[in-house]
Subunit: 220 residues, 2 copies
DNA sequence: CTATAATGTGACCTGTTGGTCATATGACCA
DNA sequence: TGGTCATATGACCAACAGGTCACATTATAG
């Protein structure tokens, strides 16, 4: 966390510095953010920066804290939804309220998420285009499946593709992260537990989270 | 793409260089990869590197191409699944075969995904812990919902949380990327089309992609 | 053996990075 | 007034970045 020196600063100055930091992180992410630029854009001296914070990560963490507090306040101010609505309605409300909050602090949100979630999307079109083939293949697949009556036709094709890509991304991330912790990746990956987890995730993609008549049967 | 000079090289040398590049990207991502290190670990001279490639991104793109080709070959070698299986089985087969492929080329996969999907997960525990509160809140929420019979009890709590987090991540990423393209973000975000998209995504999370008896009704 | 073209090389360039530190400033108090 | 203490400053540092280029080496062809 920031040093006491920073907390003693007049609010206005603190805000100036944090705004410069937010701009920097939104533009360059965490690793590539430059303390020199933050300092320059804040109008403070280099030395001062290090009297306020330990290092770059320190500012970043402080930014996260600020956002968190503001978000909590924001949610409090909204009329809380009907206390008896079900999870799905509640979740939907959260998502949408979150979007509204993002509208109020676009750069901060961008800065936080770009680091927390990923920078890959910001490197320029070259990379984005790379997965087009996959997308196209999936699109074909889903169109066909809809004709065969397998996929819910009320979900449009583009969206269904997005859903499937989301899941393959999520699973890959999961496997990559969990797998890296293992001694024997191969064993872990082929273990029944891992396979079951994947199966269940795909099951949820197929049938949803809501409780219905259908039962989970570990198929395949 | 790499210059002709590189393509003229004996296969072995090319492999050495690309392996060094893969190692580097897996370890540091794209932006923070160092050509100096790649050069050192390849055992080639700095000048040679620039006779082979335009720049860092060039090597990276070449790496993606190589992986892509290898993956295509890999999929070809697998016994192709029953041609008449439905999308969901097919998708499941793809996911699992993809995992097997990843097992064969772990560092390459790591390098590609870390850049394509995100670096946030690699910065160390400090950041990972940041979203714990959200996770805890969601866990509580879901447990309650299960007791009330809203959520499919065959899906365990941890997984359900993962599903919800995945979706809130996906939606945020979607909104962030699409929103940034818009002139008037506020207008776009509140437009019926955007709202409908979100609704449908949440609907899919709730009921799944598979066609069932239930019909989509734009609730909320 | 010679001339020419293709490859290979690493010292060197400029710019930027994160970080330090001796010194200057000025508010507060005796 | 003089003294003390928190704050502010920017020149300075070593490390490293991506990139260049004059020159050395090797392969090819006549």
């Amino acid at each position: 966390m920031p040093k006491q020196t920073f907390l003693n600063l007049p609010e206005e100055k603190r805000a100036t510095i944090m705004n410069a930091a937010i701009e920097e992180f939104a533009e360059y992410g965490l690793e590539n953010a430059s303390t020199n630029r933050i300092v320059k854009n804040s109008g403070i001296a280099k030395g001062s920066f290090y009297q306020y914070f330990e290092d770059k990560q320190d500012v970043f963490m402080h930014m996260l804290e600020l956002i968190e507090h503001e978000e909590i306040d924001f949610f409090k101010d909204q009329h809380p939804p009907d206390h008896n609505m079900d999870v799905f309605h509640y979740y939907r409300w959260m998502v949408k309220t979150g979007m509204e909050f993002g509208l109020a602090h676009p750069r901060a949100i961008q800065a936080a998420w770009r680091v927390l979630l990923g920078e890959g999307l910001y490197y320029g079109k070259n990379l984005a285009g790379y997965r087009e083939k996959t997308t196209q293949a999936l699109t074909m697949m889903i169109k066909l499946a809809m004709e065969r009556g397998e996929v819910d036709p009320s979900v449009d094709v583009v969206l269904a593709v997005m859903v499937m890509e989301t899941w393959s991304n999520a699973i890959t991330t999961y496997v990559l992260n969990e797998g890296m912790k293992q001694k024997d990746v191969l064993k872990w990956m082929r273990s029944t537990k891992t396979q079951e987890t994947i199966d269940k995730l795909l099951y949820v993609m197929e049938y949803g989270l809501r409780k219905t008549e259908s039962e989970f049967t570990a198929s395949s």
